[in-house]
Symmetry: C3
Amino acid sequence: MIFQKRISTGPYSEGFHLITDIILRELKVLPETGLVNIFLQHTSAALAINENADPTVRYDFKTFFKKLVPENFPGFTHTIEGNDDMPSHIKSSIFGQSLVIPIVNHRVALGTWQGIYLCEFRRNGGKREIIITVLGE
Amino acid sequence: MIFQKRISTGPYSEGFHLITDIILRELKVLPETGLVNIFLQHTSAALAINENADPTVRYDFKTFFKKLVPENFPGFTHTIEGNDDMPSHIKSSIFGQSLVIPIVNHRVALGTWQGIYLCEFRRNGGKREIIITVLGE
Amino acid sequence: MIFQKRISTGPYSEGFHLITDIILRELKVLPETGLVNIFLQHTSAALAINENADPTVRYDFKTFFKKLVPENFPGFTHTIEGNDDMPSHIKSSIFGQSLVIPIVNHRVALGTWQGIYLCEFRRNGGKREIIITVLGE
């Protein structure tokens, strides 16, 4: 069984956003066993799996990574698209744009505390395109 | 062919631990060609692929990332679960919780120097749940 | 449908190199729907997806990560293989060695601005081995 769906989501403000429900509602009929890939077609945003309960976790992610990859980093030459552009590219590859999660007993087998984050690194990122692909039996 | 197995491993001390053998012993019958996904159901630990021989590599990983994501980072607000909690969430997403490795000629095609790391970021992380999924022919 | 191909590429100079065309030319016959995995069998280089147009992005990636993971980081003990070895291992796991990209309508569904980077972290990395695996229907 193969299933594929394209969704468009956002725009999101700069920061880390829980999108678990947005993904799961596209996955109502799943194989018993398999894998799901969630792929973001962008280079200044990312997907991640992290804590799904306390919003301060997502707040601290934003604070930490804005400090780790500063907009005024000396040496950046790719600045024509704005101060937030090059840091966004770097953060996009630190997190990655592609998740693979197992399907167990017809369900996406996230752990109890795992949620799916849309990580928006631009101040005005616009809509974000995601392709969901399921392989299984 | 689809194969899936859940394992529970640990507890591990804070640091980077080679678990290649623990994973491979679950994979004795493999398809000729395919992919294996190894998925950790947690948000304060991670999976990674790195050097499998010299333990100083894993020691240096711990040293470096404890400095990169300090427990006393100014600005962390999610501190209720301990000083090592928020740094663990961040490190979990820098490394990721999901590996995909090809299967070639019935074997997991890790490179000569590649091993699988269980990255434990908590001081008392407890047991860790891993789901292994094989797709192939 | 399963398809698998091993390629050997490089050597590359230290830095970030667009290899999209090298990968795509191995993928001329694709299933209508599926996934492709691109896997690098090394621990001091990486694969990433990022901006495919402006070479200054790739230049800034090199500058930033050489600063983030310095060769003279105090505390590194794994130094026998050269000052650039331990930083390369760390950068290899920050980026990862494995990409999963969906196949949509017989094409690798990279976004408009997404390209595939070979991230070479060693000064003399030599040839790099990549395994490409396609699953689909």
